[in-house]
Amino acid sequence: MSEQVAAPPRPAAPEPRRGRRFDADWIRRNGVYVALVVLLAINVVITDNFVSEGTLRLQLIQVTPVLIVALGMALVIGTEGIDLSVGAVMAIAAALIPLYIGYGTAVAIGMAVLAGGISGALAGTLVGRIGVQPIIATLGIMVAGRGLANLFGGEIKSIRDPGIVALGSESLLGVPYVVLIAAAVAASVWFLVRRSTFGRELVAIGGNKRAAELAGLPVRRVLTTTYVICGLLAALAGVLLAARSQASDPTKVGLLVELSAITAVVIGGTPLSGGQVRIAGTIAGALLMQLITATLIFHDIPDSTAQIAQAVIVVAAVYVQLGRRKAKS
């Protein structure tokens, strides 16, 4: 097996035509930014009123739940894991808001976020300590969690608490609170990955778990913590979504968000095989997904088509990744 970066010539996989500088690895790392810029440019040309404060502001507001979930997902994927329970956790969090709003805004939000932490701790324990495969553990929590959300919520409930309503609709210096919160989360996760010991350990565990164990790293603790963070962020996303829509519908909140989040992470260049976490790429990935959906809606193309487009992009992004790994071996 070649240890060199430059892959030996393979008859089956022709070299990318644009040469070494723009090879598969480059596409994986930077493709998402190129695609985002191109799609923005296209919209500037073809979409009426695209370059307006209202449109851009709306896009940013709408992307926040997926973005926050995707940031947690990026950490989990960095450990070579996956978390399918994020949508259900959003629903639980949203369902808990009307349930506890009688005790005050802070208590309601606190309970919602706490539920996310508990769910994450459960997933982390299953994966990190018991050794259940991440996809199985979180699939179970996804199904059970959605049921639990229905149990808590039952039907659509509107939320009229002024604090929650303000959180979802007001701005600070012209920037919506939800966008500010998303930005703060992104900065925190970036700091965690780049500067903290935890982040360094997480990436090492994702890169080679056995080596990390033999190096004496607290593998189980790091894995558990990662899922807890992912659960907390999913719950936060659920709270923000409920705040913005001023309602919680346990059957709808967070539905299929796991797919959007995974897509954002993967097209952002974080490999599913773990060992790397790309925060900027994940943000760009979430924005790109949002922009694709929006573009189709602007031009009256139905939502179902947007879903198909999303599916095509996921497959393409994963294909680029696989192509890179094949070239390596």
């Binding site: 097996m1 240890e3 060199q4 970066v5 500067r195 903290s196 010991t197 935890f198 360094r200 350990e201 990436v203 090492a204 890169g207 080679n208 056995r210 080596a211 990390a212 164990e213 033999l214 190096a215 004496g216 790293l217 607290p218 060992g275 790397q276």
Partner: protein, 525 residues
């Protein structure tokens, strides 16, 4: 070089050859796994296939059973040249393989497993359970195996499961049965039964190929032996005509007569050894792998762990390091006990392990040279949850220079480095932890000559500075010249300890083979 003796000769017993290869060559991406190997298996013979890691045993077996197709050369089965495209074809033709891990269905009954895919049917096309059980019981009885054929296979012991695999081989009228390390996880009593069944099969004219790392078993069971080394045939002949020392010499590529000391490695002279032991291991026991292993290492001493494949060398250092579940035994560093089964406690106690498998257990390929070196000290070099980047930079810088790690810079990804430099990165990782005891498992395997010499010199230097070193190496020169003492393991127990005048390749060879030290077999020296 050992010249192939008695090759290309059908067995002298006069029986027909049932399976043979001629000049089989096979390479994988530039690595030659087999080079022109001739192999002959006669009807009714039990044939030992022997070789160390990478000798080509598995590849040869895979060629024989249709998993791989040879690049050159031919395979003849029952007198006809054959070309199997799939294992199933070889099996249908009459070549069965029994692996260490039985590949049958644990949740089906013994009888169902024996007749899997060929169940006797009733008139209505349903499985005729009664007939199947009767025939399975007959088969088991004829092999001298006493088992309830209606029992689920998974409920039987591993040994009994292998008997079932053999019974299955019988029931499909196999003419050749290949047993790849069937005994390595069996108890002594199970091994005895397995051998009886094997002899029974041979008595009926079946040709058996037997692979085992337990040398004793070869003489006990086998009629003939083929030794491979580095993909080549180095010896073939009757088992009884080969003694242990010569067999091991063939395996390791040494002529008994020219085992000489000195000059081929970078190791210097003996180290001082007048101090109290820093590492003391007693009664180490790992299920089915190690039994009552004990040794000590003093500061500044290099203790070699000798042994053939499967003797328990890697298991010993892993158990000391807490990376392998230990059933019994104590490990202490500087007189203080090290908690069993805890890598982190072992590390804190001052033990470090350079694992044999650089890729799977060592490097984190996508991390930089710097982050790979700092990996084991990450928890230590953190304050308030943040990495002490500057201290790490300084440390990494020191070790990159001291070990002369050739990289574009500390931020180059480690997977882009050569094997030798990756190994140095790993040595640096462990030296950062300031170990008192350094366990080195094959530190020079798979690295280029230059890096090898550097690593050897470094081991010497570390010992001189007072580190206690445990060295595992499959290369005899490295072990004999690098170590001040050699603890020889065999079948998971300490066979002998060599030191002083007995620290010679000849004595090591004899000990590896389990023969008496300095015995009569090589008095020609």
């Amino acid at each position: 070089m050992v010249t192939p003796t008695d090759t290309a000769r059908p067995p002298s017993t006069g029986t027909a050859t049932v399976l043979e290869t001629e000049g089989v060559t096979k390479s994988f991406g530039g690595v030659q796994a087999l080079r022109g190997v001739d192999f002959h298996l006669a009807e009714g013979e039990i044939h030992a296939l022997v070789g160390e890691n990478g000798a080509g045993k598995s590849t040869l077996i895979k060629v024989l059973t249709g998993v791989h197709r040879p690049d050159e050369g031919s395979v003849r089965f029952a007198g006809r040249e054959v070309e199997f495209h799939r294992p199933a074809e070889a099996q249908r033709a009459g070549i069965s393989t029994i692996y260490q891990e039985v590949n049958l269905v644990p949740l089906l009954s013994v009888a169902r497993n024996i007749f899997l895919g060929r169940e006797p049917r009733t008139r209505f096309g349903l499985v005729d359970t009664a007939a199947m059980n009767r025939r399975a019981a007959e088969l088991a009885g004829s092999l001298g195996v006493d088992i309830d054929v209606t029992e689920d296979l998974g409920r039987l012991g591993l040994g009994a499961q292998q008997m079932v695999a053999l019974a299955r081989a019988m029931s499909v009228d196999s003419r050749v049965v290949i047993m790849d390390e069937p005994t390595s996880s069996l108890e002594a009593r199970e091994v005895a039964t397995l051998f009886e069944v094997a002899r029974n099969l041979a008595g009926r004219g079946v040709g058996l190929v037997f692979v085992s790392h337990r040398l004793d078993e070869l003489w006990e069971l086998c009629d003939r032996v083929t030794v491979l080394r580095d993909g080549q045939l180095v010896h073939a002949g009757p088992m009884a005509e080969l003694d242990r020392v010569n067999l091991v010499a063939h395996m390791l590529g040494r002529e008994v007569a020219d085992v000489v000391r000195g000059g081929t490695t970078e190791f210097g002279d003996t180290h001082r050894r007048d101090r109290e032991p820093v590492l003391a291991v007693t009664g180490l026991d790992v299920r089915k792998r190690l039994h009552d292993v004990a040794f000590t290492v003093r500061p500044g001493e290099v203790v070699g762990l000798g042994g053939l494949l499967g003797s328990g060398r890697s298991e010993t250092v892993k158990a000391v390091y807490g990376a392998l579940p230990v059933r019994a035994g104590t490990v202490s560093v500087d007189g203080r006990p090290v908690r069993a089964n805890s890598v982190r406690h072992a590390l804190r106690s001052g033990v470090a392990l350079l694992s044999e498998d650089r890729k799977a257990e060592g490097i984190v390929p996508d991390l930089s040279v710097r982050d790979n070196i700092a990996l084991a000290v990450l928890p230590r070099f953190s304050r308030a949850g943040l990495v002490a980047e500057r201290r790490i930079d300084a440390l990494v810088d020191t070790f990159v220079r001291r070990l002369r790690i050739k990289a574009a810079g500390p931020h180059q990804k480690v997977r882009e480095l050569s094997g030798g430099n990756q190994q140095k990165v790993l040595m640096a990782r462990w030296l950062c932890t300031e170990p008192r005891v350094f366990l080195l498992d094959e530190p020079t395997r798979g690295i280029d000559v230059g890096a090898k010499a550097e690593v050897q010199a470094l081991i010497d230097e570390l010992a001189e500075q007072g580190l206690a070193v445990v060295l595992i190496s499959s290369e005899m020169d490295e072990l004999v010249e690098g170590a001040d003492r050699i603890v020889v393991l065999r079948d998971g127990t300490v066979e002998r300890e060599l030191s002083g005048e007995l620290l010679t390749s000849a004595a090591l060879l004899a000990a590896l083979a389990g023969a008496g030290a300095g015995s009569e077999e090589h008095d020609d020296e």
